[in-house]
Symmetry: C4
Amino acid sequence: MALGKGRLEAFSDGVIAIIITIMVLEMKVPHGDTIESLRPLIPVFMSYVLSFVYVGIYWNNHHHTMQIVRSVNGATLWANLHLLFWLSLVPFVTGWMGENHFAKWPVICYGVVLLMSGFAYNIWVKVLVRHHGDHSSIAQIYDGDWKGKLSMAIYAVAVTVSFFNSILGFVLYVVVAAIWFIPDRRIERKLTYPGNENEGR
Amino acid sequence: MALGKGRLEAFSDGVIAIIITIMVLEMKVPHGDTIESLRPLIPVFMSYVLSFVYVGIYWNNHHHTMQIVRSVNGATLWANLHLLFWLSLVPFVTGWMGENHFAKWPVICYGVVLLMSGFAYNIWVKVLVRHHGDHSSIAQIYDGDWKGKLSMAIYAVAVTVSFFNSILGFVLYVVVAAIWFIPDRRIERKLTYPGNENEGR
Amino acid sequence: MALGKGRLEAFSDGVIAIIITIMVLEMKVPHGDTIESLRPLIPVFMSYVLSFVYVGIYWNNHHHTMQIVRSVNGATLWANLHLLFWLSLVPFVTGWMGENHFAKWPVICYGVVLLMSGFAYNIWVKVLVRHHGDHSSIAQIYDGDWKGKLSMAIYAVAVTVSFFNSILGFVLYVVVAAIWFIPDRRIERKLTYPGNENEGR
Amino acid sequence: MALGKGRLEAFSDGVIAIIITIMVLEMKVPHGDTIESLRPLIPVFMSYVLSFVYVGIYWNNHHHTMQIVRSVNGATLWANLHLLFWLSLVPFVTGWMGENHFAKWPVICYGVVLLMSGFAYNIWVKVLVRHHGDHSSIAQIYDGDWKGKLSMAIYAVAVTVSFFNSILGFVLYVVVAAIWFIPDRRIERKLTYPGNENEGR
């Protein structure tokens, strides 16, 4: 029933690497050669930085979690593809939000994609926990995941707030990114436990 | 005569990861910032979701099959490239079908690419079976592959039907995707047999 | 002095996977929804198929050669990047040749890129041979490499001929691809020698 | 506290492979089929060659350094993403510089991206040194890193000079690339020391 985890990691690395890199293609080379010709790109650049950090956070958390995963099954593959699907929409909403200078609907849609990515990540974790059992390391680590729950709550607030003030919504997305910027010490600590030989590749 | 399988997996992962991700580039960022400006993208988005699922299915089946493959040879490399070639046309027909709101010829061509990808997958399996022998695990698993045969038949019907009603053709493509959505339990079951140490990387 | 070969393979796989896949982006989705709207894409499609086969040949030969390589050094990394540089120009000349229906200059430039890629591959092999020694497997296999030399000669003829008849030049490129289509049995045979444990990853 | 280094390498390989390859997409296929229609692409091509070499240098140094790294931690992941962020801006400034024939502001911005990438690389090394300790191989190798410091100084001079003569600035970027073209023999030498079993993957 259990499959090796190496290719799931490799495929996810590939997709996430492409997502994080093609976003920069939304920053179209300006036609002028003056410093002013860069000015319209400032909101696009800001969106790019935020999304780069978000995709980086997902990659970091994916990496940390896969370190303690022992094997995967068919359901995991689909839960993983589901997560990658929502992340693959990030370049689209990033470009739309940046080109429209953080207007209402693009900011709302950006938040919806963050919210759905968060849901997809939670489903992915649940599938992994079910595969490994309730007493596994992964179950213990994600038990009472306040950071995940807090993020989802802030996303929901940010989406609602954006109907009235989309800049405030954008600020809230930055706040969540800042919360996650600190890597997941729960898992790093776990990895120091004796008996863990699941490292490397 | 036998080559290691690691790089075949890595290269296929890379190509499939790129195919699945560049499809999203066909969803061009709209110029307006209203929710209405997303409406013309709905058929493009629907095509994207379907193709994401299809490419995901191919990756899943490729992954499952490679788990029980012991080594590859020169013929396998070309059969694999042939499969990747047809899959690489998926972003093109996806964009064409979506932008033309499921018109006749784009839906037909989409089905032809699915049909050719299915043929290419069958050839790839046959080459692997010939390399491993008729009594190998891979030969047993793909013996009497009703799911593969059924899919090919439905594709053929869908392409024919699309000459008269392309929406119905599209619905049939969705049906095949649904059939495959369930991961290939035949191989997962096989992997629990004793003596299989072919996992991981 | 010797470095592990794993990352050289992984990086080359990544670059070659991207090259082979972004070529399809040159096949722009047509605006019409009729079968006639695909007609102008036929030469682009033919160029794409030829280049897909060429890049596939390079990947296959790279794969086969790296199987018998034991380690790499700094010079190998640069020789490898030099090879990838010329291959990275393939999508550009492919698109140019296809969009101009095999006109004189695009066909000539396509041949020049093939010629330079061939040179770069030869340099890469020479660097690997110098690193492994004259009595290594890799030196023996590439000793008197008639296929490589023949290809270079045909490329040179094809480029010259294209000044007068570019369709003939294109046909000669197809001939070289056909010669290489057969995988490099010299190395596959080598790999069956006893004492080779360099397989897999 | 320590994580395996395999996925950090794989993800970095993926991102760097994409960066180095999508730059070629800035070389738009010309509409004409004459050799003259390539002329406007010459500065774009020159920018592409320079950036290809720079990204190649970063990949080579990343590869060499990771060879002697034993494990990574959360801080390393972020320092690595920070480095990849600045490198991801290289295609943008490459395209802008090439299309504007080495005009003042694009050349300045290109230099700023090089400078920031250099800073990011230094931070990445410092984080690795702190993780491995002051007596580790990596600390010894990067102790008194004259090549890194010289490059940063030349970048700063080149950016300043470009305000008056941007061609001279471009020449200085070429000079730094030439300095780094020679692979980092310090690490290759280190790898011959007895007791190093950290090679391969």
